[in-house]
């Protein structure tokens, strides 16, 4: 700002000072070049791809959430966090394509050709996460794994094989690969790992990862029940092994089965597209949209076809009004199916999702679509996948929102409170939920960011 002092009058001793400032007068607009001088920031490039993230919540003391500072705090001032009531981001090295929650442990799989394809965290007392070598003694294995740790598989071509799917039961886990079949690890007291039962076998600290044989073709889907395992092969037949006291293996008897055997009953000759189990009841969905069930029926899961409390052979469930069923999910005492129109039907025992009054039902009850966000503004919202934990349900809509309801066991619903949820409630997750895995007291969500 230059100050120019001019003398307008020549007479000495008296001058009329006229100061002209070089700033602009008030009220005149700023010139355009000055306005456009501000730098333009670029936060995101034009071709940025969305990021894949993993969120976990629930009971953390087993280590199943994979965040060690919840169990063993970093600094002395912090307290251990027993329940993580809202989704918490879990940092993973690779993009996780499949996740499974067992009873107190979690498996995360990445379908990469790298050597490390599988990470596990949580309870490892039965070596359900494989052998986790301790730092100080190379012959001992950790009983609680607090951080996602690599699980080694005895692959013939570790640089070619990809892991497609993982599944976890009470104390065993199954890993499905694309070219080398199914691997199992963990407890085999009932033959659920698909190998011969060894009396008094010590499972803790075991190095054994068994490759399951006995299938007629490639396995396309695995499902773990509490102490049994189900396999779906390429020829659309179902195999089962493990504990059968409730008939959950569906092999016509109530004994243990150490090796996978094809399931008969009403499923003989039927093309199956999906099998599901988590407790002691098992369901299969055929390619033409029919539902078959076997196993425990104490909670009216299969009451539509029989009054017996256990069915040892698959039976077609004569359910009407469901339409064409696309996906089914089994919990401990409750069952849910999803049809082609995106409607969810629930039945069984427990908190079913239609208010506190409905605590058990033998016939499928439709959960109103208004709970999943369908309104006048969005009339076409549909549920795209449905999952069951032991006492709760989770539904993912096509808009990427996650809804949960059921018993809030140790904060597993992720809604920020300890109360049970009697109708579907949105879980606030920062992103688009792609898939979710439900356990007994914790959950894992695979989320894609929006930008």
């Amino acid at each position: 700002m230059a100050l120019v002092n001019m003398r307008s009058c020549g007479r000495p001793g008296f001058h009329l000072c006229l100061r002209a400032y070089a700033t602009r007068p008030i009220g005149s607009p700023r010139k355009r070049e000055q306005q456009d001088d501000t730098p333009v920031f670029q936060y995101v490039g034009q071709h940025r791809k969305p990021q894949e993230k993993v969120f976990v919540w629930g009971f953390s003391y087993t280590g199943a959430l994979g965040i060690p500072s919840f169990v063993v705090p970093d600094s002395g001032r912090k307290k251990p966090r027993k329940y993580q009531l809202t989704p918490y981001r879990l940092d993973t090295e690779q993009k996780i394509s499949s996740a499974a929650c067992g009873y107190g442990f979690t498996l995360l799989a990445c379908n990469t050709k790298d050597l490390t394809k599988l990470w596990g965290m949580g309870l490892n007392k039965d070596s359900q996460l494989g052998f986790q070598r301790t730092q100080h003694d190379r012959n001992k294995s950790y009983e609680y794994v607090l951080e996602p740790s690599p699980v080694s598989l005895p692959l013939l071509n570790p640089q070619e094989t990809r892991v497609l799917q993982v599944s976890c039961g009470r104390a065993h886990s199954l890993v499905l690969t694309d070219s080398e079949g199914v691997f199992s690890m963990g407890n085999n007291a009932y033959g659920q790992c698909g190998r011969k039962i060894v009396e008094d076998e010590v499972y803790s600290g075991s190095h054994l990862v068994h490759k399951i044989e006995g299938f007629d073709s490639r396995v396309t889907q695995v499902a773990c029940g509490q102490d049994h395992s189900l396999f779906l092969t390429e020829t659309e037949t179902v195999y089962a092994c493990g504990w059968g006291a409730d008939g959950q293996t569906g092999l016509g008897h109530h004994n243990k089965t150490p090796c996978p055997v094809p399931v008969g009953g009403d499923l003989a000759g039927v093309k199956v597209q999906q099998v599901t189990t988590y407790g002691d009841c098992s369901l299969a969905v055929s390619t033409d949209g029919q539902v078959f069930g076997w196993g425990n029926s104490e909670y009216l899961q299969l009451a539509s076809v029989t009054e017996a409390t256990q069915i040892s052979s698959p039976r077609l469930l004569p359910l009407r009004g469901l339409g064409r069923v696309r996906q089914a999910a089994c919990g401990g005492t409750q069952v849910a199916v999803l049809n082609e129109e995106g409607d969810v039907f629930v039945w069984g025992f427990g908190i079913l999702g239609k208010g506190p009054k409905l605590s058990e039902s033998a016939v499928p009850e439709r959960v109103p679509a208004t709970f999943f966000g369908r309104s006048e503004f969005n009339p076409s919202v549909k549920v795209s996948s449905i999952r069951c934990g032991l006492n709760h349900f989770a539904a993912v809509t096509d808009r990427g929102e996650l809804f949960v309801w059921g018993k809030n066991v140790r904060g597993c619903l992720g809604i920020g409170k300890h109360d049970d949820q009697y109708f579907p409630w949105r879980v606030t997750v920062p992103g688009h939920v792609k898939d979710v895995a439900c356990g007994v007291d914790h959950m894992v969500a695979l989320v894609k960011s929006i930008i």
Binding site: P356, K357, E376, F377, D419, Q421, Y422, F423, R426
Partner: protein, 353 residues
């Protein structure tokens, strides 16, 4: 005997909607309306002046001879009621304003005249939703969230696509729907709460922060985009901040270049009076047009007070809202024969639910 002005004044009782232009303070609109009404009232021809008996000193008449002044009675107009003496007859008309609009926004502004002000209070206390159209522009962030104030930051926006915008809006709407139920202050573990939630009638009765009950993008042409919002308890600054937050979620910045209220409860923009029509005739016509609506709002408000149950009156308001919402939607999707903005469902007897 009532004069024309008084008859005109008695017809000015009720609610009507006005289209407030942008850049004008709402108080100016209210004052203009009031002065227009007063002008009309005071320009009515005054009644004929009353005649009063006056004794005047008049000259005796025909005989010019005598210069006596005789006191003679005659009927003369009394000047006591002359408008130049008393001043204009009307100097105040009570014009009240419903939900206010700030100077930057435009749109439907509900005003009440005379006895309508009481009904206006019922309308304000009830929880009707309001529809807005928000114009946004990517690339700039200003200190006031509007496009005229000082620019703080400029960002690129070439990575923004319509489906990313839709995803962000879906996330925001999801959070707001959750807030709608959370602030309803009902115990969610009861069967009653479940029943209301199924029907979509679970929403905040008392105080709540601004909640958007509906949000969608109706036009996208980068850098410009237009959102349609349906909200409760909002302020216009909050809506401009919403545009800014949409920009932040998309990792860019956005400013709001226009806020336009298209509906306030049962009053829609089609029935709002524009500036040329802010005269007494048009206003009285508008009041007559909204007479049914006004009556229903008054009845529902009074019913809520007498019944003493907040639930039933707000249930009715919600039914009004949902009916309006449904009539909106049905107008958009299907050409139905009847639903209009004024149609409100009948009263529900208390004791249900």
């Amino acid at each position: 005997m009532t004069t024309q002005a008084v008859r005109l004044f008695r017809r000015m009782d009720g609610l009507f909607a006005v289209y407030k232009p942008q850049g004008v303070h709402w108080k100016l609109v209210r004052d203009t309306i009031e002065s227009n009404l007063l002008k009309e009232l005071n320009s009515c021809p005054p009644p004929a002046p009353q005649l009063a008996v006056k004794f005047q000193l008049l000259s005796s008449g025909a005989n010019n001879g005598s210069k006596d002044l005789i006191l003679s009675p005659s009927m003369l107009p009394s000047l006591a009621d002359h408008p130049l003496v008393t001043g204009p007859q009307f100097h105040k008309v009570h014009v009240g304003v419903g939900h206010r609009l700030d100077a930057f926004s435009s749109g439907v502004l509900v005003l009440g005249v005379g006895k309508g002000n009481g009904v206006l209070e019922h309308l304000c206390r009830s929880h009707v939703t309001r529809d807005y159209t928000l114009e946004g522009e990517f690339g700039r962030a200003t200190n006031d969230f509007s496009h005229t104030t000082r620019v703080i930051e400029k960002t690129t926006y070439d990575h923004v696509t319509q489906d990313k915008l839709e995803k962000v809006l879906a996330m925001i709407q999801g959070a707001n729907q959750k807030a709608l139920i959370t602030y309803s202050q009902m115990d969610l573990r009861t069967q009653e709460a479940y029943e209301l939630a199924v029907k979509g009638l679970l929403y905040p009765h008392g105080k709540s922060p601004p909640i958007l009950t509906g949000l969608r993008c109706i036009h996208f042409n980068p850098p410009h985009f237009t959102l349609e919002v349906q909200c409760v308890n909002e302020t216009q600054k909050y809506l401009r901040k919403l545009i800014h937050e949409v920009g932040l979620e998309l990792r860019t910045s956005a400013v709001c270049s226009g806020v336009r209220r298209t509906r306030d409860g049962p009053f829609k923009a089609e029935n709002a009076l524009t500036r040329q029509h802010w005269t007494a005739d048009c206003i009285i016509q508008a009041i007559a047009h909204f007479r049914k609506t006004t009556r229903k709002i008054r009845k529902s408000g009074m019913h809520g007070q007498t019944a003493g149950q907040l639930n039933s009156s707000t249930k009715i308001q919600e039914q009004i809202r949902s009916q309006i919402g449904q009539s909106d939607q049905s107008q958009e999707h299907v050409e139905l024969s009847s639903p209009t903005s004024d149609k409100i469902v009948d009263r529900v007897t208390p004791g249900t639910g």
